[in-house]
């Protein structure tokens, strides 16, 4: 390995990257935009309880109870059908939807225990569910002077996310960090494909430069750009406050993943337009796990076949839930394995293309 050659190639690539007006502007603006976007997002969860209510026949006592609740910050919406209530819950309009059966009054009078159904959306945390149930019982108790003999049945609409209540902007953190990393793939892929398209790679390969020097220098450039931006972003938004070393290792492996993917795009693309076309396609696929964090329940187990899942999941769980090395080691090993396989595949592809 000739490190003098690698240093020369790295300086050249960095100079060329920042002389490409499109990528240099997008790199800087992207970072600034993502930071602004992060900070304008709400930093806390809305603690008011928005409740949907459906009852063919409303008991005066319960109606009065809700009226009292409204004065204490409870938002109650009465729906005309049970389906509309469910849609409101799934759409996030209500933290819970309450269904009171038509025969509630008669059942109570005859000493039976009517069943009240509470609908929750899949990403409602456990404590919020409990809060909703307690609030409803409390309101009714205060209104009628005793605990109603009812049975409360809870039903989750969509897969239950078991209490992942994270402020929106913290959910956004892994998404934006991953976007920054993945976007660098386009710039690097363009650098590589330009080198092949314009024949400069041939000029390099008739000097003492070896193919491995080229790969290493491009790899260093790609990882530096992607890792650097992600670290700057995470540092500014406080993403390094928990387990900083673990986050840095994860971002590094993610940057290596992005670099490997850049090589892959370069081996597929022939010019700027084809690089952009392939790049955007792969960008969208890699971004899906990050959207899964933003919108829990929107994705299922298949997401684990997308390589960026292990990057997103680790950043999310470490920075938002304080997961540690023991929790995340398997993700890191998988990410490392993907990096190795990806690099091997694309090196073979690029060798053939350069030859």
């Amino acid at each position: 390995m000739n490190w003098g050659i690698v240093r020369a190639l790295v300086s050249k690539d960095l100079a060329l990257f920042f002389r490409n007006r499109f990528f240099s502007i997008v790199t800087v603006l992207g970072l600034v935009f993502y930071l602004i976007f992060y900070f304008v997002m709400p930093s806390s969860v809305d603690e008011s309880l928005a409740i949907g209510f459906y009852a063919p026949e409303i008991l005066p006592a319960i109606e009065e109870a809700f009226q009292e609740g409204v004065e204490e910050g409870l938002k109650v919406t009465f729906t005309v059908t049970e389906e509309a209530l469910k849609e409101g819950v799934i759409g996030g309009d209500f933290i819970t939807g309450i269904v009171l059966p038509a025969d509630t009054a008669e059942a109570l009078i005859s000493g039976e225990r009517p069943v009240i159904t509470l609908y929750f959306s899949s990403d409602i945390p456990e404590e919020a569910k409990e809060a909703a149930v307690v609030t409803i019982r409390e309101l009714v108790y205060r209104q009628v002077g005793q605990e109603l003999p009812v049975e409360i049945k809870q039903e989750v609409l969509g897969p239950d996310m078991l209490g992942m209540q994270v402020p929106p902007r913290d959910r956004l953190r892994p998404l934006l960090a991953v976007f920054l990393i993945i976007f660098e793939t386009l710039g690097l892929a363009n650098l590589i494909s330009e080198e092949v398209e314009r024949g400069t790679i041939q000029a390099l390969l008739v000097t003492p430069v070896r193919v491995r020097d080229l790969f290493i220098s491009k790899g260093i450039v790609g990882i530096t750009l992607a890792f650097g931006q992600a670290v700057i972003f995470m540092a500014i938004v406080g993403g390094l406050s928990r387990e900083p070393l673990l986050i840095l290792v994860t971002l590094f492996l993610g940057a290596a993943l992005a670099t490997g993917i850049a090589f892959l795009i370069a081996s597929l693309g022939k010019d700027f337009m084809s690089v952009m076309a392939w790049g955007m396609l792969i960008f969208i696929i890699l971004a899906i796990p990050a959207f899964g964090v933003m919108f829990p329940g929107a994705v299922t187990g298949w997401i684990k076949i997308v390589p960026s899942y292990y990057l997103v999941d680790t950043v999310h769980r470490v920075s938002n839930f304080g997961a540690g090395w023991l929790d995340m080691w398997n993700n890191l090993v998988i990410l490392l394995g993907i990096d190795f396989v990806l690099f091997w595949v694309v090196i073979q592809a690029l060798r053939r293309k350069a030859g």
Binding site: A8, K12, R19, P208
Partner: protein
């Protein structure tokens, strides 16, 4: 006595079923210029790629400066310079940056780009980005880049193609200077006059094979014809062309008759060009 800088022995390469280079053999002495001529698709570029270590021969052996190219690619490439036909410079970098980059790749620490830029007449434009250069300037910069490491063997692929006469002449002078310095030059060109003027030896390549290899003079003597071309004035004042083939038993008598019996207005000798000879040997032109 100088040895051979380039030795090709039964060199072959094929792409699938297509035989690009078919067992060619030749030698180029140190400090000599070989003009490598042939139409597009003749196998010239593949040959150059094998000689410069870009392709590993599928048959035969290439030796440069005493080293087997396939076995010593790194060492060989440290001693050669290659100027490609297609411009492959870093266009968003200046000429100085381009040259300094390649100097670093060759491990040259005390490189002064101004000397080389002056040599190719780009002294005043060294700091401008290459994307602002004309084709001729880019070509001259490519030649300069190929000379960064003072190569012992210089490969030039169509170095004057599409250039204006002044730029072409500048590059030809550089080639001659390189030979004066002791470099061996492997010159691929379509320009027959250029090859004739510069080359110590000329190789004609056709369909993957070398069909002729000799000095330009010997090739002309062997395959070409020399003639006297004259214009004579008739009794009515009309100008008529006359041609006398030289080097035949009838030539002296024909010359004598021309001057004694005709009113000669103009006369000049004409030699066969390398292109004539190539057509004579292969039955096809260089540019098709």
């Amino acid at each position: 006595m100088a040895g051979d800088a380039i030795i090709a022995e039964e060199l072959s390469y094929w792409y699938g079923d297509l035989i690009a280079v078919n067992g060619i053999s030749f030698k180029v002495g140190e400090g000599k210029i070989l003009g490598f001529l042939g139409p597009n698709g003749a196998g010239k570029t593949t040959t150059v790629k094998m000689l410069t270590g870009q392709l590993k021969p599928k048959g035969g052996k290439a030796t440069l400066l005493g080293m087997d190219v396939a076995e010593n690619v790194e060492a060989v490439q440290g001693d050669i310079g290659v100027c490609f036909e297609t411009t492959n410079l870093y266009e968003k970098m200046s000429a100085v940056e381009n040259l300094k980059l390649f100097a670093r790749l060759f491990g040259i620490t005390d490189f002064n780009p101004d000397i080389l830029l002056g040599k190719v007449d780009l002294a005043g434009r060294g700091k401008d980005r290459v994307e602002t250069y004309s084709k001729g300037m880019k070509q001259r910069l490519m030649v300069a880049r190929s000379m960064i490491n003072s190569p012992r063997v210089l490969f030039l692929d169509e170095p004057t193609a599409g250039l204006d006469p002044a730029s072409s002449e500048a590059i030809r002078n550089i080639i001659l200077e390189e030979r004066e310095r002791g470099a061996t030059v492997f010159l691929t060109t379509h320009d027959m006059l250029e090859a004739d003027k510069l080359s110590d030896q000329v190789a004609f390549m056709n369909q993957g094979q070398i069909v002729a290899l000799d000095t330009p003079l010997n090739l002309k003597q062997k395959y070409g014809k020399r003639a006297l071309k004259a214009q004579v004035s008739t009794a009515s004042g009309e100008l008529v062309d006359r041609e006398i083939i030289l080097d035949t038993p009838e030539t002296p008598q024909a010359v004598q008759q021309l001057f004694s019996q005709e009113n000669v207005v103009t006369i000049h000798s004409e030699e066969a060009t390398l292109e004539d000879i190539f057509i004579n040997i292969t039955g096809r032109g260089l540019i098709e």
